[in-house]
Symmetry: C2
Subunit: 282 residues, 2 copies
């Protein structure tokens, strides 16, 4: 069981940022990635559609013998996680909880775990957290409710950033246009004086430089990719599923392609992908 | 037969610019529109995928009793038109031929039909035509070969503009960012000193203002939507299928939605759409 691969899926290539973080943190685990490039992007689609796509992919990956599934897509995590957990037998992990947990952890660290007021006694001002994500993720309210559940004092401001995914896929990671678009999208978040910004889409870590420059150095950026790899490690250890020796074998699947997948994969992974296997799941 | 509707389809909402032109030119024809919003956009997908999606939609529309099919999507016209014509019984019309024909017509008008040299006798300088479209349309070479077939003297320069569709869908039709993106995309076309620019994607007519400002007043803009409506009229007349009296009844279908479809339709049509019927064709 331990030697089985972990399934990782996304609407397209953005989830490769999570794949990369998983491969770095869990160097002995084999990973099977599925990019739903026939339906990409999920961020502007309905809950029904995203749930149907996600369950097809989850079932396909279960047939490949995975021991756990990482939903490396914020939109699918926001809209389809509950249904996916019901539909599959393997443990399923999304990217939203890990990001939210990281906000809490940082909070506890700076103010003392479990305290309502800091050691000095004065009440702690509720922190202000910004979330940037796709239209569908923001509209779902998934981050907003998970954050408030964790700490009702948090002020949460969300902003949909529909142009970020196409800008990343165009390779304009530090282009002047991207900076202008980012400045416009984060304006309401700056106005709300956020101190933490969750990158609520797996494409966005590639825009960290631009985002840092528009929100300023004082705002903490939370990258779901790294947090999700950490959460996956915890899950595997707690379920006694972790593989701690041996050389991993990774496989890549996509529902359309393969040209675009192979061309863009290097941007997300930093290394090239040799082969992507095409599977239409419709 | 004449009273049957015309089918019109696109990957999403862009084809509504063609729908609008058809409704204006053929006010007695009923139209059935299908927007493949579960798979949108087509512009970054493979020939195989776009062909499979297009044939499913064509068959669905044939079952609705259409008398002709207008492929109101440049990517589907570039990648799937031949296969669609083979798969369906009704006449099928794409958006590329009409745009190309318009270039030729303007050319003939300014230089005398069928002449290689103008009345004065001096040889006519080959004109330079720019084509802006999605990645898949440009990569297919469909415009380039159709234009050269029509007039081998034409110089053709294509530019893929992957950010235009998301910018239109974001509603940033005359935004400063859109102007900057447009300036960057058309730079090679301006360098090639184009005198004509084909808007090779049904979303682009909404960017006419921005495009006009970046290419200058001397460049002729060719809008496939209007040209396609004209070509559809010719087809219906020649096949004795035109309906010239009576009140039309339009229907709208989408493969995902309906919220986004209903919200964005007004942008493309200028009027709202009351109902969109959802059909998953997977």
């Amino acid at each position: 069981m331990r030697s089985r691969p972990i399934g990782v899926f996304d609407s397209g290539l953005g989830g490769l940022t999570v794949f990369k973080a998983l491969a770095a943190r869990l160097p002995h685990e084999s990973l099977i990635y599925f990019g739903d490039t026939a339906h990409v992007p999920y961020g502007s689609k309905s809950k029904e559609a995203v749930t149907a796509f996600s369950i097809s992919i989850g079932r396909f990956l279960e047939k490949q013998g995975i021991k756990a599934l990482v939903v490396a897509c914020n939109t699918a995590s926001a809209l389809a996680l509950k249904d996916l957990k019901r539909a599959l037998r393997v443990p399923v992990l999304g990217v939203i909880e890990p990001g939210v947990r990281a906000v809490g952890r940082e909070y506890d660290r700076s103010h003392g775990a479990g305290r309502i007021s800091p050691p000095g006694g004065a009440p702690v001002r509720a922190r202000s957290v910004g979330v940037i994500a796709t239209e569908a993720t923001i509209a779902s309210g998934a981050y907003q409710s998970a954050l408030r559940l964790r700490d009702p004092r948090l002020r949460v401001v969300g902003a949909a950033c529909p142009l970020f995914v196409p800008l990343v896929e165009e390779g304009w990671w530090s282009h002047r246009v991207t900076r202008e678009v980012a400045a416009e999208y984060v304006r309401p978040l700056k106005k709300a004086r956020i101190d933490t910004l969750i990158l609520g889409c797996t494409h966005y870590p590639l825009l960290k430089g631009v985002l840092r420059s528009v929100v300023g150095r004082s705002v903490r950026l939370i990258d779901s990719a790294e947090e999700t790899a950490r959460a996956t490690e915890r899950l595997l250890v707690s379920e006694s599923l972790a593989r701690t020796t041996g050389t991993p074998k990774h496989r890549f699947f996509a529902s359309d392609g393969p040209d675009r997948f192979l061309r863009l994969a290097r941007r997300f992974l930093g290394v090239g992908v040799d082969t992507v296997e095409i599977r239409r799941l419709d």
